[in-house]
């Protein structure tokens, strides 16, 4: 009945204190209440899957407003309250909030997939939880526990079940967000933090769809530097590269490949994905030494490649090696395993093999198979939500 009140509410204010009667102890109970009321609202008995009214064949990577989001706040001691769901909508923030004035925020990115049999799956959510914790420590923030994180993500997916695309049509992209919501004037860590999760159905990240990417090597603007925050998923890593991305896109490139700040000699990663080079039986990727984000897709692909018998090297990768690679691909939650068709460095454009039967496609299809449940999950990477 609480959800009915929520659904009838016309205000967009949706902060925790306004949700009454919805706090339940025991996460299973909460999940089942959501389930029950979702079907009540739809008004039919659920026999077939109910989908939101979306053109599932033409999903890109834009924000689609879903039904619910999850939120919780920390108190002074640093513990997070048991969170709850509310209608997706605006949040309220003090103008002096730490995130708005000092950029104190971390993001995560995950996807929920619908399996052929209708069950909804998450991929290694505990790794995102741990990565957010590590990021929080670096950025002087309190973070939800791994369990609270996963619970928040699960509740968000369950509540927005009708927004998880049909099998093969995409996924529900999830954005957990941790930020300094407490206010302060001088430069200091906030004393209160908010953890929020919202989702949006997506398919292809790039405008190119699944076509191979064309990357540009940026020599002037670094993405990160030693002693900075590049190795965690801090929001502060992103704003400063918007300019580089725009310039590259204006010249027809899909994205930018960044070099290390200290020597400008070694490749690091792309704006929102890691990078791999393939030569023969060897697959090479830059080591995560503090400036590069340790991607979960990256980590998974490394393991899949080793299982298949490839030699995988995590090390410094000089930019010269780009011209010797046979294949190049990017990995990321949003991007998936994406083929790179060409990389332009200074005035030289190097092209790579793309298409079926190659290493990229082999690794990508195994990963997707595991994530969508069509390949057996022997590594326990997949979590069934319901």
């Amino acid at each position: 009945m609480a959800l009915r009140c929520l659904s009838q509410s016309s205000t967009t204010f949706s902060y925790l204190s306004k949700i009454c009667g919805f706090r339940m102890h025991g996460t299973k109970a909460a999940a089942s209440v959501v389930e029950e009321h979702v079907s009540e609202m739809v008004g039919t008995e659920r026999v077939d899957e109910d989908y939101a009214d979306v053109d599932w064949d033409n999903l890109g990577f834009s924000l689609v407003r879903t039904d619910y989001m999850f939120a919780t706040r920390s108190c002074r001691e640093g513990n997070f309250e048991q969170g709850c769901l509310s209608r997706y909508g605006n949040i309220e923030l003090n103008p002096a909030a730490g995130i708005l004035n000092y950029g104190q925020g971390l993001i995560e990115g995950m996807k929920a997939y619908r399996r052929e049999d209708g069950r909804v799956l998450l991929f290694r959510p505990e790794l995102n939880a741990v990565r957010m914790k590590k990021g929080a420590e670096r950025m002087c923030m309190h973070s939800p526990s791994v369990q609270q994180f996963i619970e928040g993500v699960k509740q968000t997916v369950l509540a927005n079940r009708r927004w998880v695309p049909p099998p093969g049509k995409g996924s529900l992209y999830l954005r957990p967000l941790l930020f300094g919501s407490g206010a302060s004037l001088g430069l200091s860590a906030a004393s209160e933090f908010t953890f929020l999760v919202f989702g949006s159905p997506v398919q292809n990240y790039f405008k190119e769809g699944t076509a191979a990417l064309n990357l540009y090597v940026e020599e002037v603007i670094p993405r990160a530097y030693l002693g900075g925050s590049g190795g965690v998923k801090s929001i502060s890593n992103y704003g400063p590269v918007l300019e580089v991305m725009r310039r590259a896109k204006a010249r027809g490139f899909s994205d930018v490949l960044y070099l290390d700040a200290e020597t400008k000699k070694n490749i690091e990663e792309v704006s929102a994905s890691n990078i791999f080079l393939v030569k023969g039986n060897t697959i090479v990727t830059p080591a995560t030494n503090g400036t590069i984000l340790g991607g979960i897709t990256r980590k998974s692909v490394i393991e899949i490649a080793i299982d298949l018998g490839y030699k995988v090297e995590e090390r410094v990768v000089p930019v010269e090696e780009l011209k010797d690679a046979e294949e190049v691909f990017c990995t990321g939650t949003a991007t998936g395993v994406a083929s790179v068709g060409s990389i332009t460095f200074q005035n030289t454009r190097t092209e790579y093999k793309v298409g079926d039967g190659l290493v990229t496609q082999q690794l990508g299809s195994i990963l997707v198979g595991i994530q969508t449940g069509s390949i057996q999950d022997i590594k326990n990477w997949v979590v069934e939500i319901d």
Binding site: T12, F61, L63, Y88, N90, I91, E92, L93, N94, P95, A96, G98, I99, L100, N101, Y102, G103, Q104, G105, R138, M139, C140, Y173, R175, L177, F179, S184, L185, G186, L187, S188, A189, L196, F198, S200, V202, Y205, V220, P222, Y225, L226, G227, G228, S229, S234, I235, S236, N237, Y238, G239, P240, L242, E243, M245, R246, A261, E262, S271, A272, A334
Partner: protein, 387 residues
């Protein structure tokens, strides 16, 4: 019988022959005026209740006490900023997928309003903040208010919050303009809508030490900015990543941190929220702003004042060894003012510097404060006077 604060002020204004002098000769005057005002304040309220907000004006630090009104103005990605409005200070609404929350798309500014003896409010070079915000906005792919819009907003905030501007000599009204990507965006790209907000808070001293000398620590592990990054603009993204270093230094008793350059780790850059100057004899050096350092407005102003006073002012790469051999070191910033540095610790060496009334720092500080508070004549057109 003196009944109102304003009539008290009027009775104390004397015709002054103003020359460029140190603040010392004026400080006694200010102190008398200030203490008289304070006396008046303590009396039971026969005066107009709205003259001053209910604050302990003697104990202002740098905590947030939001003044009554804030200013909000919006625009879309390709549009321009429309007319902004004052509203009561309060929470703003943002989409959870706002650009500022997910990708750090935001820049801010800092300026102060001072109350002059005669009750007028003074702003210090607000046009400089306006231009700096425009430069920062462009770097972060945001549209920005025009200089006129920015200055007008700051003036409105100062006027509307007049009762929060501390009595002369007790502090100032710190004004915080903020520009953010408020529109929703999922993939990494500029937000489709932007919001410009200005809020304010009365402040006294920035550092816990008050006006005592600062003790700085040279940071070698964490880096504030790298060439090509956004360190040269006042992006919100420059700040959260140094919180950890700052917290560590403060827990060890330091006031703030001095950052070194990202490449050689040998050249001075700046402190967490102020620029730094090194004095040796009659030469005052400060790191050149080559893209990694924020070009402070206080920095710029102090350089000009120093030059006028006959010092040799040099902007260059300042090696950390030079700092350790200097006569004096001081920091400059809107929030911190011109603050003397008592010691700097680099690796395991701790060096002390000259400070005090006869120091270059104090001389320059007096002139700057005199200009900002209207006790020294403003011949450079740096002061904007409102109502």
């Amino acid at each position: 019988m003196i009944k109102t604060i304003s009539s008290l002020r009027n009775s104390l204004v004397l015709p002054l022959h103003v020359h460029i002098r140190t603040l010392q000769s004026f400080s006694k005057y200010n102190a008398q005026a200030a203490s008289a005002l304070q006396e008046e304040r303590k009396k039971p309220t026969h005066q107009d209740d709205d003259e001053y907000a209910d604050m302990d004006w003697d104990n202002l630090g740098f905590g947030l006490t939001p003044a009554d009104y804030m200013y909000v103005m919006k625009c879309s990605k390709d549009g321009e900023f429309t007319k902004g409005e004052l509203s009561r200070f309060g929470n703003i609404q943002l989409s959870p997928s706002a650009g500022v929350l997910n990708y750090g798309q935001g820049v801010y500014e800092g300026t102060k309003a001072q109350r002059k003896e005669n009750g007028k409010l003074l702003l210090f070079r607000p046009d400089q903040n306006a231009v700096r915000m425009q430069i920062g906005a462009e770097r972060m792919l945001m549209p920005s208010p025009s200089v006129d819009q920015f200055v007008d907003a700051v003036k409105q905030i100062a006027s509307a919050n007049k009762r929060w501007v501390p009595p002369p000599g007790k502090g100032s009204l710190y004004i915080r303009p903020l520009l953010m990507g408020s529109g929703p965006i999922l993939g990494l790209a500029p937000a489709p809508e932007y919001t410009f907000i200005v809020y304010a808070s009365p402040v006294g001293n920035y550092f816990k030490e008050g006006v005592a000398d600062l003790n700085l620590y040279v940071e070698e592990e964490y880096v504030r900015a790298a060439p090509g990054g956004a360190g040269g603009v006042k992006s919100i993204t420059n700040y959260a990543p140094v919180l950890k270093a700052l917290r560590r230094a403060k827990s060890r008793g330091f006031s703030d941190i001095l950052y070194l350059d990202a490449v050689k780790k040998k050249y001075l850059e700046e402190a967490s929220s102020c620029n730094v100057f090194v004095v040796k004899g009659r030469t005052i050096s400060t790191p050149a702003t080559s893209g990694t350092i924020l070009e402070g407005i206080t920095r710029k102003s102090v350089m000009e004042i120093a030059s006028d006073q006959g010092y040799q002012v040099v902007e260059k790469a300042v090696h950390v060894d030079e700092v350790m051999n200097a006569d004096e070191v001081f920091c400059t910033g809107t929030a911190v003012g011109v603050a003397p540095v008592g010691t700097i610790t680099y690796q395991d060496k701790r060096v002390g510097y000259e400070t005090g009334d006869e120091s270059v720092c104090q001389k320059l500080r007096s002139v700057l404060v005199g200009l900002q508070t209207g006790t020294i004549e403003d011949t450079k057109g740096w002061i904007t006077c409102i109502n």
